[in-house]
Amino acid sequence: MVHALYEAHRVLKPNGLLIDLRPASIHRRVGISRPDGYQLSWVMRETFEDDRAADRAVAQVMAERRFKAAGRTRFTCNRTMDTLDEFREWLTDFVIKGEFRSHDWLVRRVELALDAANGKTGIVVSGPLVLRVLRKQCTSLDQTPNWVK
């Protein structure tokens, strides 16, 4: 990951901006959107090792003074799905990415909620995104020192 950040540093103009946009490493809410409102089905509390590694990579390039923090915000990002198959597909990607145990039980839980709502629903997975803004710094680290062979 840190090599991708080094590449971003290389291709940016002086004082250019790096925007790191990704899901916050906290819970995701799975629910049903019904005509009479939103019904929460489950709160997923799993976290990804990749997220922690990304945080470490960002911290490293800032410690090396290649970038400095220029802003940060967090906002809600919903994924809406009409069918259980779409939810199953999203959940399968989630499980594979995190190397988690099967979440078939969650598919069944959502299926029951959909049945109870008699089809007039959509599935909503809601989780915050974090947007970090880093500004490129130009330092002596950009060039290999003369004494390095």
């Binding site: 590449e7 291709v11 946009l21 906002f75 994924r79 597909e89």
Partner: protein, 98 residues
């Protein structure tokens, strides 16, 4: 309607608040099927978008509205080895990549 990410467009509102995107040269790393690329093009950016998945790049090209054809170019590539010149971009966007 199939899977829809961020129907409320909170993401683009947050990006709008970062800078004035009009005319900026932007490299989007990990563009996937081009969902965010199209939104950035709407803000007026000139975008080079890449992704390691050739299938997704093909999909992104097909999904690109004609009105953005001169503003957006797609390329298959790795984040760790960008085939781009040094100091070529005003902004680099890592879209769910790190």
């Amino acid at each position: 309607m199939p899977l829809c990410v961020d129907p409320e467009q909170n993401e683009i509102q947050a990006l709008k608040g970062v800078t004035d995107w009009r005319g900026k040269r932007v490299l989007e790393v990990g563009c996937g099927d081009g969902r965010l690329t199209r939104r950035l093009a709407q803000l007026g950016a000139v975008i080079r978008a890449n992704d390691p998945d050739a299938g997704l790049i093909e999909k992104a090209r097909k999904n690109l509205p004609q009105r953005f054809a001169k503003k957006v170019s797609y390329k298959v590539g790795q984040a760790e080895r960008l085939a781009e010149a040094s100091e070529a971009f005003d902004i680099v966007v890592f879209s769910w990549v790190l």
